[in-house]
Symmetry: C3
Subunit: 310 residues, 3 copies
């Protein structure tokens, strides 16, 4: 390990809060969690994680739970739709100042941008953002990086495609920013209507080479990583337009014939039909494994902010 950082009591609100060196360190700690994810550990025995999910995200919720349990800790919390309705009418600041008295760390999911930052300001315990508004989902970006690193042995020097809904997809913004801390070629592939927001590109284009495409085939042959996201019908004002583009953004065995043998295909899940089921059993497919990697990354973050690893 090159260098250690003390994350004790630090909030994980945005991927923008980290330097490349800090991210590298988190990924190293994540790797060290692999055996503990198998056999369990007592590292956080006696600690309690509070999950406050003001919008549903069952995968993320379960992933954090397992991360906490594998470290010997426990979990309380609530999830929409359901019991959290009773918190309506109370300000988020008040909720946080109550829940911090029940817990040692808070994981927050909220439909509004800025909610995680507000919670972090009020809470004495560390707050981890599990998605707030359309912008930030830092733990997803970290598990994406971890998966790339695990299979490619490096992130620098890779050719990486982000494909699908780049405009509204919560995960691709955090991921694009995170990748911009490395030396990568980033290719953005989407229908015109769903192109990456200008401000995201402005933010990263000075650090890395970014190109935009509507046709995947232009850049698939040279790619090392293909990150697919779902294109939602509701985004198209005209259904005909949707029907016209959707076929161009489906990954199947025929498309993958043009790819390098060691291309890896990622997806934040759930997938609908943007990746054909026939791809699942190929060596390209790493999208289910991503969820496994999410557990070790979250174990690392929990252990770090709770001061169990310094």
């Amino acid at each position: 390990m090159k260098r250690r950082y003390d994350f004790t009591n630090r909030d994980i609100v945005s991927i923008r809060g980290f330097t490349r060196e800090e991210i590298d360190y988190i990924l190293e700690v994540s790797h060290s969690m692999e055996p503990l994810a198998e056999r369990g550990s007592d590292m956080l025995r006696g600690k309690v994680l509070a999950e406050l999910f003001f919008e549903p995200s069952t995968r993320t919720m379960l992933s954090f739970q397992t991360a906490m349990y594998k470290l010997g800790g426990n979990v309380i919390g609530f999830a929409e739709p359901g019991v959290s309705s009773v918190w309506k009418g109370e300000s988020l600041a008040d909720t946080v100042r109550v829940v911090e008295n029940y817990s040692d760390v808070i994981v927050l999911r909220h439909p509004l941008e800025g909610a995680a930052r507000l919670a972090a300001e009020y809470a004495k315990v560390p707050v981890i953002n599990a998605g707030s508004g359309a912008e930030e989902h830092p733990t997803q970006a970290l598990l994406d990086l971890y998966t790339i690193l695990k299979h490619k042995g490096r992130i620098d020097g890779l050719s990486i495609i982000l494909m699908g809904d780049l405009r509204y997809g919560r995960t691709v913004h955090s991921l694009a920013y995170a990748l911009s801390l490395y030396d990568v070629d980033l290719h953005l592939v989407s229908p015109d209507l769903l192109k990456m927001r200008r401000e995201v590109i402005e933010d990263i284009k000075d650090r890395i080479k970014v190109t935009e495409h509507t046709d995947l085939m232009e850049i698939l042959p040279d790619a090392d990583v293909l990150y697919v996201t779902r294109i939602q019908k509701e985004r198209f004002p005209d259904l005909g337009e949707y029907e016209k583009v959707r076929g161009s953004y489906v990954i199947d065995l025929n498309v993958l014939k043009k790819a390098k043998d060691d291309l890896i295909v990622l997806h934040p899940l759930p997938r609908v039909d943007e990746i054909a089921v026939e791809v699942d059993s190929t060596s390209f497919a790493k999208y289910f494994e991503q969820t496994k990697n999410g557990v070790v990354v979250r174990m690392a973050l929990l252990a770090l902010v709770l001061g169990a690893i310094k």
Copy 2:
């Protein structure tokens, strides 16, 4: 213990997947769990159970949770109605391949027949069926057998009545099959409209003696076990017909005057009025105790499929 079997990583999908010897072994292991259910244990420390309940069954869900906790493990999951709605639109195969990355064993409840088998085919971790469709609920059948064995010291040679809704009742099909592996006299008592399905009887009648009745009194005096299930009003197209039959399938002290002193009365719960409250305090009543036995049986299954007992 006569013989040991290795159930490590085995799916528990159907009671039909077991030989009598294997069931006997599971019941022996269940018995060995009784002291651990009292004081707790570290046998599954660091292990995580995922409960995927696509339809509500709070008793079964809580029972598996307690079983896991008493062995030192932890539990994640979701239950309808509620958060699992967010999984809609994702195929069960995908859900299972995500959740197996968060857990060491999956317990599945699903409204569709075949769901548990499908999940077992996709999952690398063992899958336990907690009820799928109308057919199978193997852990309920095992706890029923365990309760009979506990009070009678044997299953062979007993006269056993299954009464009530034998057509739609999920538990009685698994139980009838399980009993057919033993040397029992099986008496089926129900209104004509709710008689046991032909295929279930065909399946077991070569192994054991099965008789059908509409009048309980014909065979109550000789019975050792009376298994009662609820007759639901909704099953009757004609409410008059329902009103006519329901009184004949209520167990009260007057009915039990005709029974042997050591008859035991079982019920999968919840009961409505098919067993009168006055029966609760008699020695006949073992239906609440069944739920206690369910915990040790599920502890045994979890310990077995996770390889903690071989």
Copy 3:
């Protein structure tokens, strides 16, 4: 510690079930839980708490969960709105006799008065009332006492104001009774429509001095403790009447100018606008800390009724 009491297997249904000496003992045990709430403990390892919440009360639910986890135990249960709907149609007596087989202690929240007492009668395991009907919420009263004791070093000799909705507020009835076991001056401040019920005052006025007011300013200057509760708009048949009184029952910095420097302000939460946000950062404000104290008080009760402390 002056004297010890054995609470093993005792139900906590009503604050009226305790002598002052017993309450003093519970508060002492609560104090001894403070370090365990920080670092965790194995005191209840292997024990399972069942939370049956037939109406929502997320704060209380989470508080009991954390209390159990900090002692090394586990938690099962359900909460409205949600899965508990499946228990409808089953009698509470049956539910309790099922759930006691899954757990070592039951915490019950129920909209009907008397529900906790009924559950306690049927259950073989101890039952803790987490609020039933409009009358009793004993663990809230205990944490209120604990908070007063922690900051004032004593309860005897204090001047204590209960303000707001004294008619319908569930917590103030239990608290008024609890305070009547001590030597306090109790001042009740509320709009006429929301005055404390006659029977509560009758019950306590022989033991302590009780005065009623509509104007807080009459007694604020001499008070040591100000306990604020929310005045709900729905209680007023006439909205004009509500608008007229509400302003008189809001605590802000201007009001607190008239108070002693060491007054403490309490509130059962959630607060809406009856305490201005500007008060939060003053030394008067102890209402968020109350929730922290709730954890140690509930740890004490769980440890006591489960016989881990005698």
